[in-house]
């Protein structure tokens, strides 16, 4: 008989990430049964119909059946949900989140969960501007970085198990402190999202009708401006200080190029400024 790493996995929030995890854990035979928990019954029935989850429930009590609970809702309700499920989490169960902010999440959830339950904070770098399980894919995490943020409270065996799980899904796991994660992703993800929203809102302010003149440059630069307001509002608020810090550095960069523009004498500086960006960006290809 086949041995599964997890007999029963419960996913709270069956959206793009939760749904993709559900598919991946089944495809790789890591979980025997996937239960979806959510607030919208019709959506859960649809996810079951599409074979993304095996079962669904609206009741937090169902976590008592499971070895692994995955928190994949918007960040803003993590605390409320964890409080609701905590009385039912059985000893030895792992609670893992996939939120884009880690310091607040890890600190808050580690306080709430009962002893004997192991919390592991993770952040798969594999989002999309698309939302909903309709866009879920079992291969979403293949080749993607997954940051795991252990603390001195982290249970070693649970950490190993979750690391192995992500690696089995094809992810490249890296450990980092929650603090380091949040300053790094304020820079590499939260700031670009904020800038992208601001860029589209600049068009909104100047003249909405200009949008139809967009070329591929504008489209690429603002693809992520289609991201979910519900998800991103929470990320912005929960990583606010780091985001404001990198925003100030960004504004320094704006001031630099603005100074060059206003002073024709520093024409070479503009080319240098652009070349600096080009060179660093090309490291990604």
């Amino acid at each position: 008989m086949k041995e599964y790493e997890f007999n029963s996995v419960l996913i709270i929030g069956v959206g793009l990430i939760g749904g993709s995890l559900a598919l991946a854990l089944k495809e790789k035979n890591i979980a025997k049964t996937i239960i979806g928990l959510g607030r919208n019954k019709e959506r859960l029935i649809e996810a079951q119909r599409l074979s993304i989850i095996d079962e669904y429930t609206l009741s937090p009590k169902e976590v008592e059946k499971t070895d692994l609970v995955i928190l994949a809702t918007p960040l803003g309700i993590f605390e409320k949900i964890t409080k609701e499920i905590s009385p039912f989490l059985r000893p030895g169960c792992i609670l893992m989140d996939v939120g884009s902010v880690k310091q607040w999440v890890v600190k808050t959830l580690e306080k709430i969960i009962p002893s004997g339950v192991y919390f592991i904070g993770t952040h798969p770098i594999a989002g999309s501007d698309k939302t909903g399980f309709e866009h879920a894919k079992g291969t979403l995490f293949k080749g993607a970085k997954v940051i795991i943020t252990p603390t001195d409270k982290t249970h070693k065996e649970a950490l190993d198990k979750i690391t192995k799980m992500w690696e089995n899904l094809g992810a490249i796991v890296e450990y980092m402190s929650p603090e380091k994660h949040d300053s790094l992703y304020a820079l590499m993800s939260h700031l670009p999202h904020l800038i992208s929203f601001c860029l589209v809102n600049t068009v909104d302010r100047v003249d909405k009708n200009s949008i139809k003149y967009a070329g591929s440059g504008f489209k690429d630069t603002t693809r992520i401006a289609k991201s979910s307001p519900e998800i991103w509002k929470d990320i912005f608020l929960l990583n606010r200080d780091n985001i404001i810090n990198v925003l100030h550095v960004f504004l320094d960069s704006i001031s630099e190029i603005k100074y060059y523009l206003k002073n024709n004498l520093v024409e070479d500086k503009i080319e240098e400024f652009i070349l600096r960006a080009k060179k660093l960006r090309e490291e990604l290809d």
Copy 2:
């Protein structure tokens, strides 16, 4: 015998746009012979070897053989080149540019060209972060917008001929004043490029090594930061006032979201701010 719209077309600057035009004009049988003019002999020989151009020359005098001269170099040398070729342009010849800034170009070139030669300013909205004729494609302009910026000095027949030419290449032509063009594309193209360069330079300032943690959001938002410094320095300098204007509106948008971030009481405002961007951006899909 086949009749060509242009017997001989000379393209100055056989790069991505110039090379793509060369290919498209041949594929659609619009030009009989394409001559490439440039500063680098080896590159021109290579373009000829790849059948992008039929002939090449290093001499401005060669324009005397042609019906249509296309200016496709970086903007910064338009004035110098037009002065060099002007003595040799034959009456009835059309000089067309494909530069991303129009007000300065149109005003400057209309003054230089001899009477009897017709200047038409155009801007195909079909760039790329890639440069060089190796990336040229005859289909680059299919379905793309091409802005043509006539003035009261524009020769009606030459305008019709160039309009028809672009339409035959599959482009959607729109007329606009050079002033309107420059304020529109400061917003829809030049600002996004500037922001994209600033975003990468923010990573450069904070910690270069962070670049390897980029996800798809960062990559898309900064794809255009790989654009040519030579081309973009000129665009920034020659459309400076419009760019600084829209940059100020962008900075107002930044101030708005920063205010919301700093004041938890306006949490709904953040979601509204993001939703405003999302809605407008979704009009593009």
